[in-house]
Structures are given as structure tokens and as C-alpha cells.
């Protein structure tokens, strides 16, 4: 629905064709993953076709809906296939990250590697100047420096700038977010006003290539398709002081902060504090022990120019639903950074993105590599 309205708004502002007769706005869907590829995940036999796998990217229904909107708006529409790149740059790292005891967010990876990389390249190749998406975020060009700034969407409840922290200056220069100034309610109202065929379509929630929302089953199915080990490697569940409390069925079944599903009962509630891939251990402890202040961030992308060794005050967001908290960020070498929160934060999770904000502006961000004591 969001991308449809974005297309509608663009088309309204660019109703006339270019001087050579080419259309100014073109609809495009990225085919990223073949939902029929892992039929076992859908409870299907090899060769059977799902009747309906909706609400996610790349399902036939979504392509159908997008095509319907393009027809409605009178735009040419194409599906471009990035399945190879998506698997290589998003799916495989996603699985590897889980196996290494992290909790990855593939959407950020996809934005950086596919949507605003490969997709922009294709757009330029076919003669486009820029790519527009339905993200709730804003791009501003600073006239003095010529640099681009990334701002949170106007609607704080829908802001998606967290997932966009990896965008480079070159990518931002080619990017339009027509919905950045609007709230979700306004967007839905505008979609209804225009009778867009998808005005009532619910938002997609799950990770797009995990059709059931069950990422553990996805990882198993994917690994077995790749001819790799099907059974997860089990290991010990230990307390923070090193006592063995039980056994687990594989690190990918756990995420920091998780309480349920530990497989044994104790007097006090226990939480996953960390995952130790070297020892194959799940470390558990009290809620209090989940609170940490310092973390290391890798592969940092600075949208605002920040030099090595520089230290800045920022609000740092450590997961999508986290309220950015005041912290000090120190830019290290090799695109690393260290963050120290003013007060401890709960369940800082390796694999998630840490995004540094100055008010509504994204200064930079990267991936949480390590939580420090």
C-alpha cells in the first residue's frame, strides 16, 4: 500500500511524459525470493503450488496487486529478478548470523545491498534519475555542503529510518521518499481518496522470505536444501557464573532477552543474557543482568561526516521498537564504533542495527557486534 501511494503521488506531480515521449514514472517490483523454493515450509510437496501465500514480498499476490495499481495509475510496470543477489547478500548472511549466535535484521541488509544498490543500478540503466520507495523517512540536501541528510519519517510510530542507516551519500542522492512527510493515517486516507486498489491492504509484518514467520524452520529447510547439516548443534545452557543448568538445541533458537522456551523451570525468572558461539553456550541470568551500557558496532556507515577518533553525543537506537536513548558514540578505526549509554539498556542484541540519531537526523549506524560488561 505504501509504495502504491508513493507511486500515485509521484505520478500526479509528473503527469506529462518526457520530451522524447518516455514515461516519467515507472512501477517496478523486485522479485527477491521464490516462495515455492522451500515447499516443505508451506507444507507442500515438491512441484505443488501454494494457493495463497500473501502479505509478504514476492508472493504472486503482491506482484498481482502491484501490477493492478500500476495499471490503475497508467504506469508501465516491470518485475526485475534479483533472486541470486538476494540469496547471496541477504538470506545466506541471515542464516549464518543466526548460527553465529546473533539475531540479524535482514531488512536493513536488503536496503543497503539490494534495494538501494542493485535496484538503483537497474533504475539508472533503464534511464531513470532516482528510485522512490514507500519508506517513512526523509532525505534532505544540504545546499551549503552538497551533502544529503537522512531524517526520520514525520510519523514517529511508522518511522523506518532505523532500517536505512546503511545508505551512502551516492544512494541518498538517488532516493525519494514521497511518504516521509505523512503519517500512516494520512497515507491510508490518501490511498482511499484515490481509490487505490490496495487501500485496505494490511501492512506486511514478517521477514519477507520467511513465509510462515517461523525463522527456525526456515533456517532448517534452507540448510537442508543446501545439503548442509539439518540438525542444529546443541550445547549447554549456563548461568552467568558458569553453572550448567541444562541443554539447548542450537543457538539459532535463542535471542537475547528471551524468557520462554528455555526448557526448564527455576524459582526466579531467567532470561537469555547472551549467546556464546565459541563455546556453543546459551548464557542465562536475571532480568537485572540483561541491562548493559556498552556495546561495539561494526561496519558503521556515517551519513554525516564523522572522523576517526571523534566522539559525539547522540541518541542511539538498538532495535526497531527501541526508544533512542542518550549515549556517547566514539568513532573508531576500520568502520567500528563504541557506544556507551548514559543509563543501561535492556537486551542489547548482537546482529541488530545500532543507529545514532541527532534529534530526527540519522548521523550513522552499523551492526552490534559485541555487548561489553
Amino acid at each position: 500500500m505504501d509504495s502504491s501511494l508513493a507511486a500515485a503521488l509521484l505520478a500526479e506531480n509528473n503527469s506529462s511524459a518526457a520530451s522524447n515521449g518516455s514515461p516519467r514514472v515507472v512501477g517496478m517490483t523486485m522479485q527477491l525470493w521464490n516462495q515455492r523454493r522451500l515447499p516443505a515450509l508451506l507444507g507442500l510437496e515438491e512441484g505443488e503450488t501454494p494457493a495463497r501465500a500473501s502479505g509478504r514480498c514476492c508472493s504472486l499476490d503482491d506482484v498481482y496487486d502491484a501490477r493492478r495499481v500500476a495499471t490503475f495509475l497508467g504506469l508501465p510496470y516491470y518485475v526485475v529478478n534479483f533472486e541470486d543477489r538476494f540469496e547471496q547478500d541477504v538470506v545466506r548472511p541471515f542464516v549464518e548470523s543466526y548460527l553465529a549466535g546473533e539475531t540479524p535484521i535482514p531488512c536493513s541488509q536488503c536496503n543497503t545491498e539490494i534495494k538501494f544498490a542493485q535496484f538503483i543500478e537497474t533504475a539508472l540503466k533503464i534511464g531513470a534519475d532516482a528510485v522512490a520507495t514507500g519508506h517513512y523517512a526523509r532525505v534532505r540536501r544540504d545546499d551549503e555542503s552538497g551533502r544529503y541528510r537522512l531524517l526520520a519519517g514525520r510519523d514517529p510510530s511508522k518511522d523506518q529510518s532505523y532500517f536505512l542507516c546503511g545508505l551512502t551519500q551516492e544512494q541518498l542522492a538517488r532516493t525519494l521518499f514521497p511518504l516521509g512527510e505523512f503519517t500512516k493515517d494520512e497515507v491510508r486516507a490518501m490511498a482511499r481518496e484515490r481509490n487505490l486498489p490496495v487501500a485496505e491492504k494490511p501492512d506486511s509484518q514478517e521477514i519477507c522470505f520467511v513465509p510462515t514467520g517461523n525463522y527456525r524452520r526456515f533456517i532448517d529447510a534452507y540448510l537442508s536444501e543446501q545439503g548442509k547439516r539439518v540438525e542444529s548443534e546443541g550445547g549447554e545452557i549456563v548461568s552467568t557464573d558458569g553453572r550448567v543448568l541444562g541443554r539447548h538445541q542450537g543457538l539459532e533458537n535463542y535471542t537475547v532477552g528471551q524468557r520462554k522456551g528455555l526448557g526448564f523451570a527455576t524459582g526466579t525468572p531467567l532470561y537469555v543474557i547472551g549467546l556464546d558461539p565459541a563455546r556453543h553456550q546459551v548464557v542465562v541470568g536475571s532480568n537485572q543482568e540483561l541491562l548493559k551500557s556498552r556495546l561495539r558496532v561494526r561496519d558503521v556507515n556515517w551519513i554525516r561526516p564523522v572522523g576517526e577518533g571523534e566522539s559525539l553525543a547522540a541518541h542511539v537506537k538498538i532495535r526497531n521498537k527501541h526508544l533512542p536513548a542518550p549515549a556517547r558514540v566514539e568513532a573508531g578505526e576500520n568502520a567500528e564504533a563504541q557506544v556507551e549509554f548514559s543509563s543501561p539498556q535492556r537486551a542489547i542484541t548482537p546482529g541488530q542495527a545500532a543507529v545514532f540519531y541527532d534529534g530526527e537526523e540519522v548521523v550513522g549506524g552499523g551492526w552490534i557486534s559485541q555487548v561489553l560488561d
Binding site: 511524459a17 522524447n20 515521449g21 518516455s22 514515461p23 515507472v26 522479485q31 508501465p76 516491470y78 518485475v79 526485475v80 529478478n81 533472486e83 541470486d84 543500478e121 537497474t122 539508472l124 540503466k125 533503464i126 534511464g127
Partner: protein, 390 residues
């Protein structure tokens, strides 16, 4: 924006005369061809006239033509029909690696039912070697199916030789002539085929109708069960307007087939030579001396076919990366893979011309093409690297 259609192997526009011929059969002469009354008789007469016209195009008898819903159904009916009707305990089918999906996927389905299938390889230029077919023949071989011309390359296969082999060994011989019928002479006697598939919309007829030539005496088990239409080969009330369209299209093809072929062939050659001359790092895929007139498959190194087709479309020129049926799939073309050109599967573009293309179409295409190729190449990291290397 002027639009130019260079994708006639995907489908062709219905010829105005064909459209005119079909019209009465929607409104006035709407009868069911099986009915006894006047309405039925009008429809039946039209049906039989079309049968004669299609038969004439193929040098067949009208009674040997069964109408179907198109090329895919004809291919299915031929392969499944022969295999199911065969009383042998063991059944073996020979086909090639470059067939259309309608044959290949039917063969795959037959394999699942226990039929042995041999996929004979083809040469690097996309031509089947008849001796390879002969070598594949076993005591249990019930059918040989080899396409007349390939949809992606346009290469024409040596059917007469294969037909002779099939006849000597007393094996049924089917050909998918969907891309040939109406474009080059297709004579069932000269080719020695027992079964032949064709489709109306590839020769300026309507979509959803085709025919299967079934040599007299050939025993087929039908795909569908129902009434006694089409001599029990194909039940279901006949698609009279569609069949009339096919008949008219076949008549037109028989009338000015040779003229069309010469004119279209000359346009294709001009397009091809223009591209090879003006754009570096291009080459033609497939045997240039044995092709249907309208088709050319050209590899543009360092371009990516998908983006090329979109960029061309936005400038009003329609072409394709290969078979329309495989659009959206990432699998490299099975045809290019089969001729050892897997690497070029992503950089190759099919242009297919037809009766309604003009000299101006080629001029305009040759003007737009170099700019599109340059635009795509300038953004290709691999091209930049190779340019630096050179």
C-alpha cells in the same frame, strides 16, 4: 511515442483480413457446429473450410487436421496421445534439449509415469544431428519429437532426414512447427512427420486456437473426454470464430508466404548487420544459414538482458530475452544452455520480426539501440573494468 514491435515469436498481431473473417461468427453465425439446424450448418461449413485451408498450408488432407486450443495442447496431445495408445510394455521417447517447454515439460511428466526419455543434444549452432537421433533409437522407442524451428534461435532442424530414419524404423515422428508454420514451407510429406503442432497466433491469427496434424492411421489416445468432436481427437464445442481465424491466417500464409519470408528475412538481415557493425562486442547466436526469416538472437556483452528489454520498452521498442513463457525466471535459457552458451544467456536478446514490420522500424531501432547499449554498459562495473584492462 512511436512503438515498434519486434517480438513476433512471442505473438503476432491478428491480420485485419483475419479479424474481418472472424467477426460474423461471434454475432450472426454463432451456431454450434454440431447442431442440425441452419445455424449449426453455417458454423460447420466454416469449420470445414478452415480445415481445408490449414491442410493446404501443410500439404495434408483435411481429415488429418484436428483443432486444439493452441500449440501447447497440440504438443501434449501428440506426446501423451502416442505414449498412452502404445501397447508396448516399455516405452521410450526421443526428443531434443532445445524443445519448447510444451514438449520438454510433457516429456518430464511422462518420465514420472515410467516412460524413458532421451534428450538428444544439439550442436553449438543450435542444430540437431540426425545421426544422434538414430543412435538413441531402441527397440522400445515409440515416438521421436523434434521441433521444426527453435523459438529462441530460429534455427531450422533437419526434419526430412530424421523423418526418413523414423519411417525406416517404423517409429512415430512428431514436430512442433509452431514457429515455422506460415513462415517457411512446411510440407508433412516432405518432412515425413506423423504429427505436427501449430498455433494460430504465431501466424497473425487469434490466440487460443491451434491445430494438430495427425497422419491417417496414427493411433492416439485423447487428452480429454467428452463428445465426438474432431473425429474423437478433441471433444468440446469448437471455438468456431477462432478456428475461422486460424483458417484465414493459414490461407494468407499460403498465399503470400514466400513474399513475406523474403521481405522479413531482408529486414532481419539488415537489423542484424546494422547491430554487428555499429555496436562492439556483439555476436549472433545460432546457425545464420539455417533460420526462419524473422528471428535473430544477439548477444550484447556486458549488458544484462532484463534491463535492456525494459530500457528498450521505455523507448517504444518491444523485444525479449528469450521465450516469453520464461520471463521473470532467473534460470538461464535452456536453449542457450543446451548449445553451450550458458554464459551468454543473460546478455542475449531475441528480435523477431513479422509481416507488419517496415523498413522504418529497422532504421529507428538501429538509431536507438547503440544509445541504450551504451547506457547499460556505462553502468556495468564489469564493462568498466574490462575497458580499463583494454
Amino acid at each position: 511515442m512511436r512503438r515498434i514491435y519486434l517480438d513476433n515469436n512471442a505473438t503476432t498481431p491478428v491480420a485485419p483480413e483475419v479479424f474481418e473473417a472472424m467477426k460474423p461468427y461471434f454475432l450472426d453465425d454463432f451456431g454450434n457446429a454440431s447442431s442440425i439446424h441452419w445455424y449449426g450448418q453455417r458454423a460447420k461449413a466454416a469449420l470445414e473450410l478452415s480445415r481445408e485451408r490449414v491442410a493446404r498450408l501443410l500439404n495434408a488432407r483435411p481429415s488429418e487436421i484436428a483443432f486444439t486450443s493452441g500449440g501447447t495442447e497440440s504438443d501434449n496431445a501428440a506426446l501423451v496421445g502416442i505414449v498412452e495408445a502404445s501397447r508396448s510394455e516399455k516405452k521410450h521417447v526421443i526428443t531434443t534439449t532445445i524443445e519448447h517447454s510444451a514438449v520438454l515439460h510433457t516429456a518430464k511428466a511422462l518420465e514420472k509415469r515410467g516412460v524413458r526419455v532421451t534428450y538428444v543434444p544439439v550442436s553449438a549452432s543450435g542444430i540437431v544431428d540426425p545421426s544422434e537421433v538414430e543412435k538413441a533409437i531402441g527397440a522400445d522407442t515409440v515416438l521421436i519429437s523434434v521441433m521444426h524451428s527453435n523459438n529462441e534461435l530460429g534455427t531450422i532442424q533437419p526434419l526430412d532426414e530424421i523423418g526418413r530414419i523414423a519411417r525406416e524404423r517404423d517409429i512415430y515422428f512428431h514436430t512442433d512447427a509452431v514457429q515455422s508454420a506460415g513462415k517457411v514451407p512446411v510440407d508433412v510429406e516432405k518432412l515425413g512427420v506423423d504429427l505436427l503442432s501449430l498455433s494460430a497466433h504465431k501466424l497473425h491469427g487469434p490466440k487460443g486456437v491451434g491445430a494438430l496434424y495427425i497422419r491417417r492411421g496414427t493411433v492416439l489416445r485423447p487428452l480429454l473426454y467428452g463428445g465426438h468432436h474432431e473425429r474423437d481427437h478433441r471433444p468440446g464445442t469448437e471455438n468456431v470464430p477462432g478456428i475461422v481465424g486460424l483458417g484465414k491466417a493459414a490461407e494468407q500464409a499460403a498465399e503470400h508466404g514466400t513474399n513475406d519470408a523474403e521481405r522479413v528475412g531482408a529486414l532481419r538481415d539488415r537489423l542484424e548487420e546494422g547491430i554487428l557493425k555499429s555496436i562492439p562486442l556483439t555476436s549472433v547466436i545460432g546457425d545464420r544459414s539455417r533460420r526462419v526469416p524473422g528471428t535473430t538472437n544477439i548477444s550484447f556483452e556486458y549488458i544484462e538482458g532484463e534491463g535492456f528489454v525494459i530500457a528498450m520498452d521505455l523507448r517504444g521498442i518491444a523485444c525479449s530475452t528469450g521465450a516469453a513463457c520464461s520471463s521473470g525466471s532467473l534460470e538461464p535459457s535452456h536453449v542457450l544452455t543446451a548449445i553451450g552458451r550458458r554464459e551468454q544467456a543473460r546478455t542475449s536478446i531475441r528480435f523477431s520480426l513479422g509481416r507488419f514490420n517496415t523498413s522504418e522500424d529497422i532504421d529507428d531501432t538501429l538509431e536507438v539501440l547503440p544509445r541504450v547499449v551504451e547506457q547499460l554498459r556505462s553502468l556495468s562495473p564489469h564493462y568498466k573494468k574490462s575497458a580499463i584492462a583494454v
